[in-house]
């Protein structure tokens, strides 16, 4: 059973388009996250939700909008995609606000 899953795994799109990435966890965790990993493997947190409430919102362009319809799902919608948005996006979850996080397999976004 996949603990944290993301769809799609790969996403290739053109500049200016709008796209969404979906994340689901079946671990029963309360907290979910979105991270961006750049080409140098640097991991940067973007957002965090706890029980569907936004608790971390790092300095991210407002073209990025997360949505958590329930505790098990956290989606990421990106408007007006730019070349610099190309990266691998990881979803993660944790039992609470602190502690270990469990990561999904990642979504490789390529903007052309």
């Amino acid at each position: 059973d996949t603990a944290v899953s993301q769809t799609p795994k790969y996403l290739v799109t053109q500049m200016g388009n709008d796209k969404s990435i979906k994340c689901e966890q079946n671990l029963g965790h309360d907290t979910m996250y979105w991270y961006k990993q750049d080409s140098k493997k640097f991991l940067k947190i973007m957002f965090s939700y706890n029980n569907k409430e936004l608790i971390i919102n790092e300095t991210v362009p407002n073209r990025f909008s997360p949505k958590s319809p329930d505790k098990a799902h956290l989606n990421l919608h990106i408007n007006s995609l730019e070349l610099g948005d190309s990266a691998v996006y990881f979803c993660a979850s944790s039992p609470g606000l602190a502690g270990e996080q469990y990561f999904g397999p990642g979504t490789r976004l390529t903007v052309t």
Partner: protein, 112 residues
């Protein structure tokens, strides 16, 4: 500012040799600490964690890490590496309910 530092960008070891990956932290108090591994094209997998108590922590895949308060370190070790250990390794730290801070990663190459 709170930080986690991995001084080595890239390490190469021979198969069967021992391994030590360095991690230093800078927090006002003892953080909780993690090591993750990322194989090519995969998400991050939790290797081990330290919250408190015994300073020598055992993890999966034969890895261990030792928390040393005096050196502000949490180095990862393995007595004998296998070719399948080639991957990117991330140290991460957190405190209270604050977000996790990840190091910049160490890429491990195994030579036959």
């Amino acid at each position: 500012a709170q930080s986690v530092t991995q001084p080595d960008i890239h390490i190469t070891v021979s198969e069967g040799a021992s391994l030590e990956l360095r991690c230093n932290y800078s927090y006002g108090a003892t953080p909780y600490l993690f090591w993750y591994v990322q194989s090519p094209g995969q998400g991050l997998q939790l290797l081990l964690k330290y919250f408190s108590g015994d300073t020598l922590v055992q993890g999966i895949k034969g890895f261990e890490a030792e928390f040393k308060r005096s050196q502000s370190s949490f180095n990862l070790r393995k007595p004998s590496v296998h070719w399948s250990d080639a991957a990117e390794y991330f140290c991460a730290g957190g405190f209270g309910n604050e977000k996790l801070t990840f190091g910049t990663g160490t890429r491990l190459t195994i030579i036959p």
